[in-house]
């Protein structure tokens, strides 16, 4: 077993797969992080990915231009995110239920559109869709072990790394980040400071749509070269769990999605040594649940310690107002 693990971890192919399967999760997790920071849960990420994956394939096949497909896919994903906003923010709907509804809408809708266009329910192989470019890095590709991992990755893998930087700056260094967190943490205070909460929430939803759109396009135009029904495979849901693990930061999102990527890639290897594939397929989700539980546990413990300290401080002062809420 140890020998097996060492052989897997020393294989450059394993790390290549890790990067490849982490990238889409990372993108949607960032999307989940940013909306959650503004205090709205985007459960429709799954639907955004599905429409992006399908629209990307259709438009790139129709125009013959992969970037046109990419843009169209992102636009479709943003539309789904904004519909969620419309219902959740303007029509006072339960955001979580709306997300569920939009995912249902998307699962059925994408298959419906695919069938109406191609006569096939499962796969878009009859459409001559394009794939996003794979990047060969000069010099690096010649380095023995490292080159095989980093060179030849799809451009989206690098965009996902870039997205971490952008979202990190957006949340921590830009004024809009302060506003986002203000809206998420204390709506009333934000309002009285002249921030329009709905505008901020719509903004974060749009950003999460862009991120989910890129992830969706990657799935059908890079990770694989077709749209297949249900291609997102619950990644939008995983992102919402990973978001908790990420603890609301862009850098945390890397670790959270790596947990999924590492186990997802490991699953392929474990299958090769004869473990039942069904159990292996369940592994990434199990690990996500575990990560989710462990992180909330740690967070709560920290919170408890903080409260305890506050309490002791209060007791030290006579006439203190007490614990508060």
């Amino acid at each position: 077993m140890i020998k097996f693990i060492i052989s897997v971890f020393s294989s450059s192919n394993y790390w290549f797969i890790v990067l490849r399967s982490t990238a889409p999760i990372l993108l949607v997790t960032l999307g989940a992080v940013i909306t959650e920071q503004a205090g709205i849960k985007n459960m429709a990420l799954e639907g955004s990915m599905l429409w992006a994956a399908l629209t990307g394939v259709i438009v790139s096949a129709a125009t013959g231009n992969v970037w046109a497909g990419f843009i169209a896919g992102i636009a479709a994903a943003v539309v789904i995110a904004l519909i969620l906003g419309l219902f959740a923010l303007k029509l006072d709907a339960n955001a979580v239920l709306c997300g569920v509804a939009l995912n249902l809408f998307s699962t059925g809708g994408t298959v419906f559109v695919l069938f109406s266009l191609t006569g096939d329910k499962g796969i878009s192989s009859s459409l001559a869709s394009k794939t996003l470019p794979f990047i060969k890095i000069p010099f690096v590709e010649n380095i023995p072990w490292v080159g095989k991992i980093f060179s030849g990755q799809n451009i989206i893998v690098w965009i996902s790394v870039l997205a971490v930087v952008v979202i990190h700056i957006m949340l921590n260094k830009a004024r809009v980040g302060v506003r986002i967190r203000a809206v998420g943490e204390n709506l009333e205070a934000a309002k009285s400071a002249g921030i329009s909460p709905n505008r901020i929430k719509f903004l974060t939803l749009a950003v999460s749509g862009v991120l989910a759109g890129m992830a969706g396009c990657f799935l059908s135009m890079g990770y694989t070269s077709n749209f297949t029904s249900g291609i997102s495979a619950g990644r939008g849901y995983v992102a919402n769990a990973a978001q908790v693990v990420a603890g609301g930061t862009a850098v945390g999102a890397i670790f959270a999605s790596l947990i999924f990527g590492l186990t997802d890639a490991m699953a392929t290897y474990l299958q090769n040594i004869g473990l039942p594939p069904e159990l292996i397929q369940a592994l990434p989700y199990v690990v996500t649940i575990l990560g989710f539980v462990v992180i909330t546990l740690i967070r709560d413990r920290k919170e408890l310690i903080r409260k305890k300290k506050l309490f002791e401080k209060d007791r030290a002062k006579p006439l203190a107002s007490g614990l508060g809420a």
């Binding site: 849960k41 459960m43 219902f87 303007k90 029509l91 006072d92 709907a93 339960n94 979580v96 239920l97 709306c98 569920v100 509804a101 939009l102 995912n103 249902l104 809408f105 998307s106 699962t107 059925g108 809708g109 298959v111 419906f112 069938f115 109406s116 329910k121 619950g234 849901y237 995983v238 919402n240 769990a241 908790v244 039942p276 069904e278 159990l279 397929q281 369940a282 989700y285 199990v286 996500t288 649940i289 989710f292 539980v293 909330t296 546990l297 709560d300």
Partner: protein
């Protein structure tokens, strides 16, 4: 009693909105058919009238009501508690797996055999249902997110059990060994598939109605859902309430899976998870969380599904468009603004006329 129902605006208006959601989604469906179909008139006819014009389809409609009644009931309980967990999907699927195992491997007299299987499936379903609730209560982990993760996990575990322990290796497609004869539920009508599960589902509608609205447990669930803080102050053990509500909900889901197996099939032949929980969401929402109305909304949804199935078999419109409509229905029903449209308008009017009567005093009278 009936008269009061119809004179009471607060009850009538939500009913109108619900009907609106249903009619609206059907209209959208018809619109979509006209866009994609080469012979739209025939397709629409098949979609809307198919379930009613043929006896075979009509029985199919009744059979299709059974599983979604169970998941709908299970979700009514969850929604009364104001949770959003979808773990009943796992309960239903695992219930079907447990029933399959018992249907194949245990020998019991007819009648008792499916009953034992249902009980076991219910227990397993109930226990599974506790998982996201525990995570929520203990660590405040969002129950919808964790339940969706669990749904993947239990789906994979279920197909593992079928593949490695219950599979019939003589079949080319994935199927379990055949069930024993004693496992099958009796048919209600000769030469049709309509099985006794229909009656069991009806009994559960009554049981869950009584449970939610006539027992202390149901009362505690509703109070906890309406206002957990008040419930806690009133001395209701909120966490315990959430746990047993989930157990009962999962129990019903598990039984649903077992009923489906022993009523409809001779072996486990699902190639993928039928995911009746998602249909249950709509059934529960159309019923406004009230078990009494679950049969009605299950009938409506089954009608849509059977119509769509019939249409897609005979035409060029994909069955999946029904899932799209289901999403639309939930979107409309989940929106408080739409749900309270009439009420708000009435209140505004009342406030306005009141303002006019009072003439002066109101400062910035816009509500």
């Amino acid at each position: 009693m009936k008269r009061k129902f119809f004179s009471d605006r607060d009850k009538l208006e939500p009913a109108l909105i619900t009907i609106f959601a249903g009619v609206f989604s059907v209209l959208v469906g018809v619109g979509l058919i006209f866009i994609v179909s080469k012979d739209p008139v025939q397709s629409v006819r098949n979609f809307l009238l198919g379930p009613l014009l043929r006896t075979y389809n009509f029985y199919y409609l009744l059979i299709a009501m059974v599983p979604i009644t169970f998941t709908g009931l299970a979700l009514c309980i969850i929604y009364q508690l104001k949770y959003t967990s979808l773990i009943v999907d796992s309960s239903f699927y695992s219930g079907a797996i447990v029933a399959t195992a018992i249907g194949i491997n245990v020998s019991l007299p007819p009648g008792l055999h499916p009953a034992i299987a249902m009980l076991a499936a219910g227990l397993v379903g109930g226990l599974i249902s506790l998982l996201p609730a525990i995570l929520k209560i203990k660590w405040r982990a969002n129950e919808l997110v964790s339940s969706l993760m669990f749904n993947y996990v239990f789906y994979f575990i279920g197909s593992f059990v079928i593949l490695y322990y219950l599979r019939d290796r003589n079949q080319t497609i994935l199927a379990s060994m055949p069930f024993q004869k004693s496992f099958s539920l009796p048919k209600l009508v000769e030469n049709t598939q309509l099985h006794a599960g229909f009656i069991i589902a009806a009994v559960f509608v009554v049981l869950v109605s009584i449970f939610l609205f006539r027992t202390r447990w149901g009362y505690e669930i509703r109070i906890t859902g309406a206002n957990p803080k008040f419930a806690a102050y009133a001395g209701i053990p909120v966490a315990t309430v959430a746990l047993y509500a989930h157990f009962v909900s999962g129990f019903i889901g598990g039984i649903g899976g077992a009923v489906e197996m022993s009523g409809l099939y001779r072996a486990f032949i699902w190639q993928m998870n039928p995911s009746y929980a998602w249909d249950g969401v709509i059934v529960a929402m159309l019923a406004r969380k009230n078990p009494k109305f679950v049969p009605l909304s299950a009938l409506f949804l089954a009608y849509l599904r059977v119509g769509a199935d019939f249409m897609s078999r005979r035409g060029d419109v994909a069955f999946e468009f029904i899932t799209l409509l289901q999403g639309l229905i939930i979107l409309i029903l989940a929106s408080d603004k739409i749900a309270n449209y009439f009420k708000e308008r009435r209140l505004k009017r009342a406030a306005l006329s009141h303002d006019l009567a009072a003439q002066a005093s109101s400062a910035g009278g816009q509500p």
